[in-house]
Symmetry: C2
Subunit: 202 residues, 2 copies
């Protein structure tokens, strides 16, 4: 019953190839042939690992979520205070570095694809709501005195700001520089109260 070739290793290699193509050529350039060429194999092998192209798309979308989620976990765990964690999570949700501007471009591509693909749309909604929940929890940790409704609305607003910075950075990095993103996020975070504002690293 066990496969002779290692299938999970194949999937991982194909995942790496998928992300490489996605970062370089964007979502419209994510073809089965491009992935196969990047992985050093053929389309037949790709379609032996993934049933459809939609399966590949779903896998790539999960890859993006996994990437951002793990990074959010890391920066959240590394922060000392809840307010610092909130600030770090939001800053890393936006796209300050050039390396993650391409990630923002991929994100926009999936967003546009989700507008016509119900499966991708459901994935997108789920991931986004999970992110909203994360931010809401952090807001509640920063302001335990706030009622839940206020925490929720603050979280949705902060997420909207972060995603807006994301999309705008993807298309106009000059106007929305890393400094501009930080200023905008800090201004929004200042609304949580003066005690919530601390800039550990400047």
């Amino acid at each position: 019953m066990a496969s002779r070739r290692d299938r999970v290793d194949q999937r991982q290699r194909l995942s790496a190839a998928t992300w490489s193509v996605l970062a370089e050529r964007g979502l419209p350039g994510l073809t089965l042939r491009a992935v196969a060429e990047r992985a050093g194999c053929t389309t037949g092998m790709v379609l032996h690992t993934f049933a459809d192209k939609q399966a590949l798309l779903v896998h790539a979308r999960e890859l993006l979520h996994q990437r951002t989620g793990q990074r959010a976990d890391a920066v959240q765990a590394a922060a000392d205070t809840p307010s610092a964690a909130l600030r770090a999570v939001l800053l890393h949700a936006a796209a300050p570095t050039t390396e993650r501007q391409e990630e923002a471009r991929v994100w926009v591509g999936f967003l546009a694809a989700a507008l016509a693909d119900p499966v991708l749309a459901e994935l997108h909604r789920g991931y986004n709501r999970r992110f909203v929940d994360r931010v809401r929890g952090l807001v509640a940790a920063v302001r335990p005195d706030w009622p839940a409704a206020d925490c929720a609305s603050a979280a949705t607003g902060l997420v909207a700001l972060a995603e807006g910075l994301n999309t705008l950075t993807a298309i106009d990095p000059a106007t929305y520089s890393a400094a501009a993103q930080r200023v905008a996020l800090d201004a929004a975070l200042a609304r949580l109260g003066p005690t919530a504002v601390d800039h550990p690293s400047g």
Copy 2:
């Protein structure tokens, strides 16, 4: 020299068909055949009116900017105070009504198209910077005591929030309802100072 058929009307009708297809089937479904079918003609007529598919997209994009710009002009002129004008412009930049959620989807589609098309990207940047300038002027009118740099950063932050609400509403209208958008925008506007907050229409 004058064309026998009204060409500008044709161009506008084809652009409207482009919006319709883009909102309904997304960017991958935006084909010349789909546009022609939606406009009630054939691809030959489309390519007699526009040289390329890119020309069609550029015209549709320009028309979208023109339409949103006119609406912004209208709500800005109809407002009594600068703060009311700022609030109205930002609220109409987001997509509260279901009618304009479709427009938000079109906007996201053009954004994704701009990621792969330098011409559309340059258009998008220019239009967005014009919108930032508009918001910056309104912020300066609301807070004449603020230095220019603060007005600029506040404007970019407000625009990012509005566009973020736009994109998130396009994919998840349930989470980002019209009320949630208003709450988020009002919270951000409250940062401009207590005098700037006035809700004329509830």
